[in-house]
Amino acid sequence: MSGAAAVFHGSADHAARFESKAATREPALVKWGILAVSLSFFAIFLLLPLITVFVEALRKGWDVYFAALIEPDAWAAIKLTLIAAAISVPLNLVFGVAAAWAITKFEFRGKHLLITLIDLPFSVSPVVSGLIYVLVFGAQGWFGPWLSEHDIKVVFAVPGIVLATVFVTFPFVARELIPLMEAQGRDEEEAAVVLGARGWQTFWYVTLPNVKWGLLYGVILCNARAMGEFGAVSVVSGHIRGQTNTMPLHVEILYNEYQFAAAFAVASLLALLALVTLVIKTWVEHQAGKASQQSEE
């Protein structure tokens, strides 16, 4: 459910439409009141924490900042975060495309149930998401004895972190693609097939160009969550410094050791990632808005 509200919509300014007519215009006092209250709320609850990250990160100067980032444990954490995202994002991308294809291009029973089940990881607490893999692959779990016999570590090792990351980012691509491909219908694909295109050609030349912005949107959000996941990864990681610490876990350790400047330095990298994500997301919405306007003309 997290991210659920980030449903893809093109950007357009509606204010002029409402402000130009007396019937849909509030008295100036009401308007400024609403603006003042809502923007103050925005500033206090969203803007201020964001600014705090960067101010705290640079509180002790650039030297301390960079020292915190080039330290070997920080590097290991950055590397592990990148690995986890590099594995889980493509896996969920392939899954999302396959699921959206099956759900939107064909009729079958239990479709709504399937969509609900795909959304399920969003509504599960991150901590529970981690716990389920401990119960399956942990020392006392289903496969625990078998895994330890064969000397394979899943929980408290990299595979567990990847699994937990795949779980929490599971619905991202699928849930952006399904409504989009549903709206596109199947006429274009059917025409392509009737004209002799093979399945992959149909997907590549007909479906993909129609959904590329939604796909990119899903991938970006998926990646942001994959790199930033804390609760689920925290349960399966075991917190071994330099080995099973992702960036968010490294931030936690530094913070708990009262190395605040270092913690915020690593946190600032993650905050930058969030800002880049939002910039690309806004850009994609803009592009998609333009594309849909063109197709309407």
Partner: protein, 278 residues
């Protein structure tokens, strides 16, 4: 089955559905079933003891109480923010619009330490509240602040598209029939927005109930006072009490499932009320 298959022009049904179901089972369904099987092996007495110890009961009160208040606050201010973003032009609007999604993009641990720094006694906001005798960091109030942060975009982003789609004609009709601005809002706009607003509320609440990363830093995690339920699972795991952790996880999962059903129902209602798909 064979009869319907012949009507399918497009290829790849078997492959895509098979892959979807396999991957869904391996990653999501089978591990989730593991939780229920493990809890089932616990025995009813053990299960009830684990999920109703005083510390766990206190954590339910905090988690659900704070989540409810945070979702209510977000519903009020989220509606105002969505209204401002749709109806008014103001400088920096695009920036505000983009940054509303910050809680989706910012890792929860980062949000957690930033909020703690902000609301600690020597923090920017904490310093202002200290003379008033209000302590936020390391109290239940801190939990509330974190849950407000995490839930705000849900309300804004569910209400915003509905407000954008609203035709001006209805309000114009209301005014020409003699309604004042407030009446037009209350009787024309609000009923249209209500299902989306409730959906946003339910989503913010559901997210808040499960939230962990942004809360644990600012909460202080004092037993019986400021421990949230997800933290109780972590605490049990750290004591190698897997059965106890699983029992609490089952309670949380059941609540998540109920909330998921409620949200699906609300979304269907929104679609019906506004003629919008999803």
């Amino acid at each position: 089955m064979a009869a319907t298959r012949s009507f399918r022009v497009l290829p790849g049904f078997g492959l895509s559905l098979g892959y979807t179901l396999t991957w869904l089972s391996v990653i999501v369904l089978i591990p989730l079933v593991a939780v229920f099987l493990k809890a089932g092996s616990l025995g009813l007495d053990h299960f009830i003891a684990a999920v109703s110890s005083p510390r766990v009961l206190a954590s339910y009160r905090l988690t659900f109480g704070a989540s409810l208040i945070a979702a209510l606050i977000n519903t009020v201010f989220g509606l105002m923010l969505a209204w401002a973003l749709v109806r008014y032009s103001f400088p920096g609007k695009r920036l505000v619009d983009a940054l509303v999604d910050l809680p989706f993009a910012l890792p929860t641990a980062v949000a957690g330490i930033a909020l703690t720094a902000l609301y600690a006694k020597n923090g920017w906001v904490g310093k202002l509240l200290e003379p008033l005798g209000i302590q936020v960091a390391f109290t239940p109030l801190g939990v509330l602040i974190a849950l407000i942060f995490i839930g705000l975009p849900f309300v804004v982003r569910t209400v915003q598209p509905i407000l954008e789609d609203l035709d001006t004609e209805y309000e114009e009709a209301a005014v020409s029939l003699g309604a004042n601005r407030w009446q037009a809002f209350l009787h024309v706009v609000f009923p249209t927005v209500l299902p989306a607003l409730l959906t946003g509320f339910a989503m913010a609440f559901a997210r808040a109930v499960g939230e962990y990363g942004s809360v644990i830093f600012i909460a202080g995690n004092i037993p019986l006072v400021s421990e949230i339920t997800p933290l109780m699972i972590i605490t049990k795991l750290e004591q190698y009490d897997y059965a106890g952790a699983t029992a609490i996880a089952v309670v949380m999962l059941l609540i998540s499932f109920v909330l998921l059903l409620v949200i699906n129902g609300l979304q269907a209602w929104t679609a019906k009320r506004t003629g919008r798909e999803r």
